[in-house]
């Protein structure tokens, strides 16, 4: 049997040497410059928030709590609030997410699990490219190509499922679809939501794909070795592992969908009352309201728009923070599991 014997050292002066960091002038300047840039960025970012709050304060003070409950948008007669446009923003984002989530999960699974190894990089690039396509291009596409095609689906949905409250369309007659007010089914929340959904799918896809591809190889192979089919493996390993990524990617997409401006502005015809019928003409969104009203707004009207912008910013901020923390948590879990 072996024992480790520690040799007794003779007592000497072996106090740790003091390490002094000597920072040269060049390094001091470097640190100064980088720190200044950090401070500059911080200043710009806080200025954005402060200015929004400052400019919004006039309208908020005038309107008080009614700002959250009023539906109309007539700032000059002191009758305005974000109830309708905030509701409309969320409704469009919800339709968008309903479209985006299945597409994103499917595409992410395809890229990480099914695609041939050689084409993976190309597919990832294509999805990234789709995220970089300008919103005006999506808007033109939605307005000129999709709108005419989707009204058929809208008509079918409201004909057979019109009894579900949010699929109901006022003034729509089953027996004679053309009888109601002209164009009852165009420029609706539904159409805007589909286009915005396609816009946010790539962002959600890339988050999900990254998390899916980090699912531990050992557990994948374990599942396959126990006789699981590919779907069995995905359901028992990849999806539980990627749950954080799915939720986080969805929330990130939601954040983008809430702030989308031009596409929504091009497609919807704005209404300023709570409009829960998604197939019906008329929808509303905060960003589109700002884009549409800033030009002709009086000083007070501008302040009201700033208040709406502030509300939108706060909502997307909360959504993004939650998303980022969920994604970060799922990533750190990946590290400790591996």
């Amino acid at each position: 049997m072996n024992t480790t014997v520690v040799e007794q050292r003779p007592e000497t002066d072996v106090a740790a040497r003091e390490i002094r960091e000597r920072v040269g002038i060049a390094d001091l300047i470097f640190r100064g410059i980088t720190r200044t840039s950090g401070i500059t960025v911080l200043t710009i970012m806080s200025l954005v928030g402060l200015f929004l709050a400052y400019r919004a304060s006039e309208a908020l003070r005038a309107q008080g709590f009614k700002f959250l409950t009023d539906q109309a948008w007539e700032p000059d007669s002191r009758n305005f609030g974000i109830a309708a446009i905030l509701f409309g923003t969320f409704l469009i984002a919800l339709v968008a997410i309903t479209v985006a989530v299945p597409l994103a999960i499917g595409t992410a699974l395809y890229i990480s699990e099914y695609a041939p190894r050689r084409s993976k990089q190309l597919l990832i690039s294509l999805v990234d490219l789709m995220a970089a396509v300008p919103s005006i291009v999506y808007g033109l596409w939605g307005l000129f190509l999709l709108q005419g095609r989707v009204t058929g689906i809208s008509r079918w949905l409201t004909t057979y499922f019109g009894w579900i409250p949010f699929l109901h369309v006022d003034g729509f007659d089953k027996a004679d679809p053309l009888a109601g007010p002209a164009g009852t089914l165009t420029s609706s929340t539904f159409i805007a939501g589909i286009v915005v959904g396609l816009m946010v799918t790539p962002i959600a896809t890339s988050v999900m794909r990254e998390v899916f591809s980090q699912a531990p190889a050992g557990e994948r192979e374990g599942a396959l070795a126990l006789g699981a089919t590919k779907w069995g493996m995905i359901r028992s390993v990849v999806l539980p592992f990627g749950k954080g990524g799915i939720i986080g990617g969805t929330m990130l997409g939601l954040g983008r969908a809430l702030g989308e401006t031009i596409t929504v502005y091009l497609i919807i015809s704005p209404v300023f009352s709570v409009q829960p019928h998604i197939l019906e003409t008329g929808a509303s969104s905060i960003a589109a309201t700002i884009a549409g009203k800033y030009g002709a707004a009086s000083a007070f009207g501008t302040s009201a728009l700033f208040a709406a912008g502030l509300a939108l910013f706060l909502v997307t901020l909360v959504v993004n923070f939650v998303a980022a923390s969920i994604v970060a948590k799922s990533r750190s879990g990946a590290v400790s599991d591996a």
């Binding site: 980088t34 960025v41 954005v48 702030g259 700002i290 884009a291 700033f306 939108l312």
Partner: protein
């Protein structure tokens, strides 16, 4: 190879106390083994796929043309797809067990979802190109502005040169602001960690949530309403900068974090200061990643309409001075032109959108070519250059050594 039959001898101890590893022999009469193909695509699978697709198509065609009063291309495709899935599941279930049927159906669904997304991309690009083609084929579309071309004028008059120039000017100003500030800030986040850096990082990440219209609104409030400056290209460039800054900081931060710590430590251990380490080691190592971050950020910035909409104003004529007068960019031109009901105006809008799409595509391809490699992966030319540099260093060192030995010997 000597034939060893006694298993004891496989680990025979050697006289010097060490042991050798002996590879077990392959029996000479072993059958030649070939790697089995494990990609499980059989003929019956393909037949099941093709058969159910064909059957679904026939059933739906029959339904649409003969039996039910159905119409519309989207309904046709949707119904075909649903019937295809049902038939496919049925066909597979004739030879396979329940889990395999589910596996096949899910595989079909996943494939079609991915196909749907990618075909949406193709349709969007192709549709924009198709509708813009009438405008894009005229040379004057790229060389003239819209000063003399009203909405009713034919496409052979007027173009979007003012928007192309405006886009280039605006994005150049924005990049001139964002690249130094953003990358220095990313360096700060990585090189001087601490509470303050963490705080800045959190704020920068929060700002990526900033809706682009709000970025425009900010510049509108400060520059135009408070300072009283007119709407101009410069204001638009600032709005784009505010929007791009957090995106680029975040991307550059991630790229810089990927630079191997061992490289930096090696440089510091050689006695290099922090500044020289950053300049000569960290930044060159991360260069391709940083370029990608910047180019992708620029692609986002170029395509944004809403901040520009509020801050740039609209003009139909060329304006090359970003500080005075409205300046129009490609997305804004497309947005404004599509507001007119005339057919030529809409064609011009699609032409502008397609031009914008091509610019974004080119930027994207450049980013992919540069950014295909991670930190430390070099191109052939870079490897050659490094080899030459080390050769030069070696020569310098040997000369130095020569002179020192000569001077010490004398």
């Amino acid at each position: 190879m000597p034939e060893i039959t006694d298993p004891e001898k496989l680990f025979a101890p050697r006289a010097d106390g060490l042991s050798t590893t002996v590879v077990p022999p392959i029996p000479s009469d072993a059958p030649a083994t070939r790697a089995r193909s494990i990609s499980g695509l059989r003929r019956s699978d393909l037949l099941a796929l093709g058969g159910s697709a064909l059957a679904a198509l026939s059933i739906v065609t029959l339904l649409f043309t003969q039996i039910a009063p159905l119409s519309g291309p989207i309904g046709f495709v949707l119904l075909t797809y649903v019937i295809f899935l049902v038939l496919y599941a049925l066909l597979v279930s004739f030879d396979e067990s329940g889990p395999v049927v589910r596996d096949r159906v899910v595989a079909a669904v996943v494939h079609s979802l991915a196909f749907l997304l990618l075909s949406a991309l193709v349709v969007i690009v192709a549709f924009t190109a198709y509708r813009g083609l009438k405008a894009l084929v005229h040379i004057n579309f790229y060389t003239q502005d819209l000063t003399n071309a009203g909405p009713l004028d034919p496409l052979s008059v007027g173009g979007i040169s003012h928007a192309i120039v405006g886009t280039l000017i605006e994005i150049s100003i924005a990049l001139a602001i964002v690249i130094p500030l953003g990358i220095t800030c990313a360096v700060f986040l990585n090189e001087i960690p601490g509470t303050f850096a963490r705080f800045v990082r959190t704020i920068a990440e929060a700002m990526t949530a900033l809706p682009s219209i709000v970025a425009g609104l900010f510049i509108y409030a400060t520059l135009i309403l408070i300072l009283g400056l007119p709407k101009s290209g410069f204001a638009a460039a600032l709005a784009i900068s505010v929007m791009m800054l957090p995106i680029i900081i975040r991307a550059a931060d991630v790229v810089l974090r990927l630079v191997p710590g061992s490289l930096k430590e090696a440089s510091l251990a050689l006695g290099t200061g922090q500044w020289r380490t950053v300049w000569h080691v960290t930044l060159p190592t991360a260069r391709s990643g940083l370029m990608t971050a910047v180019i992708l950020g620029a692609a986002r910035g170029i395509g944004e309409t809403s901040p520009v909409l509020i801050t740039a104003g609209y003009t139909a004529s060329m304006n090359t001075n970003p500080f005075s007068g409205p300046m129009v960019s490609l997305p804004l031109a497309a947005f404004n032109l599509v507001g007119n009901p005339q057919i030529t105006s809409i064609q011009r809008a699609f032409g502008a959108a397609m031009t914008l799409l091509v610019v974004v595509l080119v930027l994207f391809v450049i980013a992919r070519i540069i950014g295909g490699r991670g930190p430390g992966n070099l191109t052939k030319r870079q490897v050659q250059r490094r080899a030459k540099e080390s050769e030069r260093d070696a020569k310098r060192f040997s000369q130095l050594a020569d002179t020192t030995t000569r001077s010490s010997s004398t």
